[in-house]
């Protein structure tokens, strides 16, 4: 199985506004890191231009990313152990705060390319029911076929 991932973010200004300039400038170098990262399988792209964000019908201010990875570790190392971490550190400059889950993962058969519709259904699921085997997070992670979350490194049960 491969690990599919969706994250959504509400932009604080239109994507071509000066407030977003640093973020847009970071897209190309960050995608260069993800696409050459160990365990990277696929990501949804609008075009070959990395600054062109994915268009969809869920609202103009919503930025979406969908990608597929070989394992939890591969995705973790890209998200938190690469230049991508700096983007997360500065997220408040570019994205609105949100009280609902904005990122999630789910397992897909190898070779399967998730659609945005499929990903957004999982987002609705995690927002309605919390993390589970069909839509989960790093904090509450489910191995393929498992109905209980993996034990936390901190030794405190979920």
């Amino acid at each position: 199985m491969h690990l599919a991932q969706l994250n959504v973010a509400h932009l604080v200004a239109p994507i071509d506004a000066p407030e977003l300039a640093d973020f847009v400038a970071a897209l190309e170098p960050i995608y260069a890191v993800s696409d050459s990262a160990p365990g990277f399988v696929w990501r949804m792209m609008e075009s070959d231009d990395p600054t062109e964000v994915i268009t969809h019908e869920y609202g103009d201010d919503l930025l979406v990313n969908v990608s597929v990875w070989e394992s939890r570790e591969a995705l973790w190392n890209f998200v938190y152990r690469s230049a991508h971490l700096e983007i997360l550190r500065r997220r408040r400059e570019w994205f609105a705060r949100t009280a609902v889950p904005y990122t999630l993962m789910w397992w897909v058969p190898e070779g399967h390319t998730p659609t945005l519709g499929e990903a957004m259904e999982r987002l609705a699921l995690i927002r309605a029911q919390g993390p589970g085997p069909e839509a989960f997070t790093f904090k509450e992670f489910y191995e393929p076929g498992s109905s209980t979350p993996s034990p936390s490194i901190a030794g405190v049960p979920h």
């Binding site: 938190y80 152990r81 690469s82 230049a83 971490l85 700096e86 997360l88 550190r89 490194i153 901190a154």
Partner: protein
Amino acid sequence: MLADPVRRELYRFVAAQGRDVGRNEAAEAIGVQRTLAAFHLDKLVEAGLLEADFRRLNDRTGPGSGRPAKVYRRGGPERMVSLPPRDYRTLALVLAEVVDQLDGDEQAEKAARRTGERLAAASHETGLMDVLVGRGYEPYEEEGRIRLRNCPFHVLAETHPVLVCSMNLAMCEGMLRGLGEDRIAAALDPRPGECCVAFIAKDVPE
């Protein structure tokens, strides 16, 4: 377990290399016989402080290339000793969750920066490397940067990575300020298995 000085030196040496170390290399570095080094290294493996593996230490393969050698590296799990029992980890976990819920990243970073500044100013060490060693970061130099082999906040950096790494960066920036070190800058430069911060010499105007 670490009361024996030879054993302690061996543990320090293997942990500081950040890679697999053979028995000969460890024995030579500490200046003891190979058999004595092997005895203590295996005791450290039994205690879970080191991990052992078998690997060829040269590039030769196939017949005649010899038996794989036993190699050692630092074990993954952390050990904490606290007498009487204290549990700061669970409390830190709870507080990190609260900071997340309150969206208090910015305040947390400011507090970390102040703490770093005070720690460095109060330290009897005056050089950045010595302060980092003293705080358990295990610094080493690579390509003109100071990198940190150990994350002192590892468990929290796994459960709350963005918050904890941002706080750690702020704390390191505070340490630079506390030391009055204005020729060096701290930046996020994370790598798998290491601390997220690296130190870089600032460009000096010509």
